[in-house]
Symmetry: C2
Subunit: 137 residues, 2 copies
């Protein structure tokens, strides 16, 4: 079911601003910060306010249309349609590689057995060094 449909079903309105934002996160493929979303929106139409972007992202997160995770000192969003995955972000060049969801299965098992802790591991941002930057240093 599309995000637009979800919005309407729950009694929220499908405004032009929300359409735009939905398009952008859908097309981006990867993840975006609120500021990047705002920039992309404003590249298409002027006059859209940052509050609208933040409020829309909050709503979309509540509806399960996007996922929010932390990257450094800010938050990033990505479309739920892409499914669950993680991000390998290079600390040198900043490039982000999508990483399959199951990579944390051994860790989930281990913390469950050793600490009785049910770890979430949803859309984790993993910092490190990509192959390219590894070669250069």
């Amino acid at each position: 079911m599309s995000c637009a449909t979800t919005l309407k079903e729950k009694g929220f309105k499908l405004t032009p601003q929300r359409r735009l934002i939905l398009d952008i996160i859908h097309d981006s493929g990867g993840h975006l910060t609120a500021e990047e979303i705002l920039d992309n929106v404003q590249a298409k139409v002027t006059g859209v306010n940052k509050s609208t972007v933040y409020r829309t992202m909050e709503l979309l997160e509540e509806l399960g249309c996007v996922f929010k995770s932390e990257l450094g000192d800010r938050f990033i969003y990505h479309h739920a349609e892409e499914g669950h995955h993680h991000h390998l972000v290079c600390r040198t060049c900043g490039k982000s590689i999508d990483c399959e969801e199951d990579i944390f299965l051994p860790v989930k098992r281990a913390v469950n057995e050793n600490y009785s802790f049910r770890a979430d591991f949803k859309h984790v941002v993993i910092s490190g060094l990509c192959a390219n930057c590894r070669g250069k240093s």
Copy 2:
């Protein structure tokens, strides 16, 4: 080598404020936010400024005396003497459990093999549900 010694060796001064902050992060065992450090400092002496705390923590991080990691929308610090470990933080009660460093070894191997990515995994904050809160819900 103690943090105090490291400070002096690198030409930095061992002021009363820095002594206090070092004591607090040493005694705390776990991790602390800058604000918590400030509160603890001010419980002992009045007149210490938050800038001093932030600047001291920045310095101690550069010297390798403390580690900084992100927890939600803020940063936490802990003493390097405790060695590397991770944090299991319950999303319901907020309790933090220290978790052994090697828990991420399988993931490090996997992302290295599959993505040629060298993951850091230093002082990761793992969100989830602790045994206690799991029972209640």
